[in-house]
Amino acid sequence: MRVIPTLLIDGNGGLVKTIRFGKRTYIGDPINAVRIFNEKEVDELVLLDIDATLNARGPNLHLIEDIVSEAFMPVAYGGGISSVSQMADALRCGVEKVVVNTAFHQNPGLIGESAARFGSQSVVGCLDIRRGIFGGVSLMTHSASRKFQGDALRIAEAWCSAGAGELMVYSVDRDGTRRGYDISALKQIAERVEVPVIACGGAGSFEDFVSAHDKGNCSAVAAGSLFVYHSSTLGVLINYPNRAELDTKVFSKLLCNQ
């Protein structure tokens, strides 16, 4: 299982952390954070520009390039990508994968085009999901500012048959709350698709990673708060467990460790 810090960058190129995709806290310089994660030999990084689609602009290529130039782990980039040429630009900057939410909802044809061009393994579909007060799951776009009409399971399935090589399922209402992943949503989606599913939104402890894997059938776990805040004081502290810690606290507890 991969354990992935999720880094959110805003329109000014700063690293931020959100709560439920709303309230933002400034964390610092993303390049510095990536340097620290690099030293800690993280499995992978997800970098999301949360203002790009909202501001109707494409990816900030200079920033991406600066951020990944010394990242010796795989990086997935998302934010503002709506065409094959933008994907090519992002990949050329040095990222391995592109993460797309809004544009795949608006133009599902883009999934097949991008998979044919870059291979499925570079195409990550991101489903932003929000649980309503009656427990139903809605799909969200534009950094969760708009609702998209559609069934999450059917769309997950359609995206994967169109060529998405991985699905990231980001729970909007759990983002930044540390109350655990939306295991039932993850499980339902992961059972419907063949590709790896990345759990995101709500991780508060290493036990949450184990549940996402064992109960949610996820192949990877992503977390923001857990890796940018000090656990007890909630002060900013870029952190990541070392190999031994991951082994004892996460991997050794998994039902089937891969």
Binding site: R2, D43, E70, F72, R92, E96, S122, G165, N217
Partner: protein, 214 residues
């Protein structure tokens, strides 16, 4: 100087970045004339097998590569799709590969994977290696590398197998013969483990006795 082949696929920048940090000069090129004169070549690549071969052909790179690798014996390292292209062909498509390594590229056999394992295989895997090959000099423990692939290589003979990893079953994760080597994993994205492999490739001296495999 290491020439990184640009044929429109994959992440060249990451390889260039890691080589730069290691202190080895590199140049990214899609020009057959430059490739023909290359001292040392990295064939990267992420993406579809047929797309990769067609791009090589359209850019006039296949003849240039055959010349520099087979006739001039320049060391070459294929990475990910670039390693698969060294084989005869892939279940992913219909195009013939470069046919330098007697091997085929096959899709992960779903029937041999437990249900919990997804395709593509994405993630880090402990990798067993042929310790006598210069690419793997210097490891004191089993290295971990990052893999992203739905297909893997299957060699005609074990002598061509350079490394192995497990994903549901043991698969060939590296191939080598003479001046040619290919790895399924991404050294450029595998932290210090990948740095060792890329530095070894940059220093790979075929002139030294015992370094070249038949």
């Amino acid at each position: 100087m290491i020439t990184i082949i640009d044929y429109g696929t994959g992440n060249l920048r990451s390889i260039e970045n890691m080589l730069r940090v290691l202190g080895y000069p590199s140049v990214i090129s899609c020009d057959p004339h430059v490739v023909r004169r290359a001292e040392r070549i990295i064939l990267p690549g992420v993406g579809h097998f047929d797309y990769g071969m067609r791009q090589l052909r359209e850019r006039g790179l296949i003849d240039a590569l055959n010349d520099v690798v087979l006739t001039r014996s320049a060391p070459i390292l294929g990475i990910c799709l670039g390693a698969q292209l060294l084989t005869r062909g892939s279940e992913e498509g219909n195009e013939p590969g470069l046919c330098w390594i007697a091997a085929e590229t096959r899709r992960f056999d779903r029937s041999r994977l437990p249900e919990s394992l997804r395709i593509p295989h994405m993630g880090w895997a402990d990798t067993e290696y042929d310790a006598s090959h210069p690419l793997f000099y210097g490891f004191k423990s089993i290295p971990r590398f990052y893999y992203v692939h739905s297909y893997h290589m299957v060699c005609d003979e074990p002598g061509l197998e350079l490394s192995h990893a497990n994903y549901g079953y043991r698969f060939v994760s590296g191939v080598a013969r003479d001046n040619i080597a290919g790895v399924q994993f991404h050294p450029e994205k595998s932290h210090r483990f990948g740095k060792v492999v890329l530095a070894n490739f940059a220093d790979w001296n075929l002139g030294k006795s015992g370094d070249s495999r038949s």
